[in-house]
């Protein structure tokens, strides 16, 4: 590797008195004194959350209001800090979503363990678990910070996708799973 010799000039007299530099610095800070403030006054002003932000993981419903999770438990397996606990459940035969394989009976994410890595979102075959833009989470007790299924759907809302995977599957089954 080539050695680059940097010429180090001796300080001029003006530089050795420090004064021109000090006054230059004073001018710079004075400019900032009159410049607009850069502080974001947090509780009143909120930061803009960019798309793809990994906030609190939530569960979402599809546009028909059906819970998308089929409790395959992939997220539970992949979760590095083991924050997710799923109790799988059956869907009653008379329910409108009876054609869907399964649904979670209970779904808990312990936010004290969650590291917001987003692996659950990546691994989910149903796009049912999504890290959204909730970034400020707090509670008075440990129990409060374990999000149950109800809380997760409340946070998650509806994902406006148009896949309707299970409805198409049911329809296909209706005419013998023939390729269209």
């Amino acid at each position: 590797m080539a050695v680059i010799h940097v010429e180090r000039k001796p300080l001029t007299f003006a530089e050795r008195t420090y004064l021109p530099q000090v006054f230059g610095g004073l001018l710079i800070t004075l400019k900032h004194f009159f410049a607009p403030r850069v502080t974001l006054e947090y509780p009143e002003q909120r930061p803009e959350i960019s798309p793809g932000y990994r906030g609190v993981p939530t569960l979402v419903k599809d546009p028909n209001g059906r819970e998308k999770c089929v409790s395959c438990q992939l997220c539970e397996f992949v979760c590095p800090p083991k924050a997710i606990r799923i109790t799988p459940g059956e869907i009653p035969a008379d329910a409108p979503a009876a054609h869907v394989e399964k649904a979670p009976l209970e779904f808990e994410i312990n936010m004290l363990r969650c590291i917001y890595c987003g692996l659950c979102e990546e691994v989910c075959p149903e796009e049912a678990i999504v890290l959204q833009n909730v970034y400020s989470l707090c509670g008075y007790s440990r129990d409060e910070l374990v999000n149950n299924k109800e809380k997760l759907y409340e946070l998650g809302g509806t994902l406006p996708d148009r896949h309707f995977k299970w409805d198409k599957k049911k329809e296909a089954a209706g005419h013998g799973n023939a390729h269209a």
């Binding site: 008195t17 004073l26 800070t29």
Partner: protein
């Protein structure tokens, strides 16, 4: 009203005046801690503390909100916290000296105020009478003598703390203060060479220095001394920064390498006393600087207080004139305090060897040269005139 005060016993009058001055200087010193936080924030593009508010003030439109944004109530909260916080006494310290060091810091800081004139009024004959607690002949010498006692509190604090960082801080502080006191004193000598003429009683009075700067236009007496003696003013200012331990000469605290310097072991109220003392030193130092080089209570160069009084027709109102002069003087002092803070949040700290080099090899020879040059010039001028 005026007669009632004039007929009071001198001791009571002195006590009242002293209390009045303390009532001004103490809040200024306290408010400086908040000003420091606000100025640092403004210089860095932040807002600074602006959240705390007393509920009743929130009901006042505009004013309450304005005071909140200025952080005025943060100051009260800070004071309350420092007052009521537990005051730990480390087991390894020399308890007696550890306890009295903050008090010793306060004494010279407040004593110097007594000999600094902070305003003036015109008496019936139209002469300028200074407002000050003790009009002593030694004037500036008294300020220097008392102010340099402030170092003892730091030495005591550092030594009594019985741990190495405070000790290093106080050793540095003493070396630094001694080095810069020389240049500080020598830099003001030309000023007194100028105002002491042959055949007149010698004086070191700060009032005389202001009188020197109170001429009207054609006379060069109206010119503030900063324009007559810029080098003296510069040396005095730099040495003042060092004497008040402000950045860039913050050797004594140097958070980066000495934790907190001499007050590392201190907490709560004792710690805050050190700060009030530092800010009082700053206030008095700024006051002396304004008196020496920036015309004291004269509003503008060539526009002395007497002219302003004449314009406003206030000859018969000594109290009002006094108030105006105090406001002018305080405005200059507050600007100087702002300047202290402005510099602090602009320049980084010098290294210890740089501080020593600037003091001994820069400022001291320069101030000596300055003294010799001005002595010659003044001698020639007095011979000619």
């Amino acid at each position: 009203m005026t007669e009632f005060f004039a007929n009071l016993h001198p001791v009571i009058l002195g006590l009242l005046k002293g209390l009045a001055v303390i009532c001004v200087i103490f809040p200024i010193a306290g408010a400086c801690s908040m000003a420091e936080r606000k100025v640092s924030a403004w210089l860095q593009g932040r807002y600074g503390p602006n959240r705390v508010i007393v509920p009743w003030f929130a009901w006042i439109p505009f004013l309450g909100r304005g005071l909140q944004r200025l952080g005025v109530f943060n100051l009260l909260a800070d004071g309350g916290k420092l007052l009521f916080k537990e005051d730990p006494l480390p087991g390894h310290v020399n308890k007696f000296y550890f306890m009295i060091a903050p008090g010793i810091a306060m004494i010279p800081a407040f004593t110097t105020v007594a000999v600094v004139p902070f305003g003036a009024y015109l008496d019936a004959a139209g002469r300028v009478v200074p407002l000050m607690l003790a009009n002593v002949d030694v004037g500036l010498l008294a300020v220097f003598a008392i102010a340099s006692l402030g170092i003892y509190s730091m030495i005591l604090a550092g030594w009594a703390s019985n741990s190495k960082y405070p000790f290093l801080g106080s050793v540095r502080a003493s070396a630094q203060l001694i080095s810069y006191e020389l240049s500080l004193t020598i830099s003001v000598l030309p000023v007194f060479l100028l105002i002491n003429r042959p055949g007149m009683p010698a004086t070191l009075s700060l009032v005389e220095v202001v009188q020197q700067q109170s001429g009207v236009f054609p006379s060069w007496h109206g010119l503030w001394l900063v324009f007559v003696m810029p080098v003296s003013a510069l040396i005095f200012l730099v040495a003042l920064f060092a004497e008040t331990n402000r950045l860039p000469f913050d050797m004594i605290e140097s958070e980066a390498d000495l934790v907190g310097g001499f007050h590392t072991e201190y907490g709560s109220f004792k710690w805050s006393l050190f700060f009030v003392a530092e800010y009082s030193h700053m206030t008095v130092g700024s006051g002396v600087f304004v008196l020496l080089f920036f015309g004291g209570w004269n509003p503008l160069p060539w526009v002395p207080l007497a002219t302003v009084v004449h314009w406003l027709g206030l000859q018969g109102w000594p109290v009002l004139v006094g108030a105006i002069s105090i406001v002018i003087f305080l405005a200059k002092v507050l600007f100087m305090i702002f300047f202290f803070m402005w510099v602090r949040w602009t320049v980084p700290r010098f290294r210890y060897d740089q501080v020593m080099r600037i003091g001994w090899r820069g400022l001291l020879p320069l101030s000596l040269l300055n003294l010799v040059v001005y002595a010659l010039v003044i001698a020639l001028l007095q011979k000619a005139g």
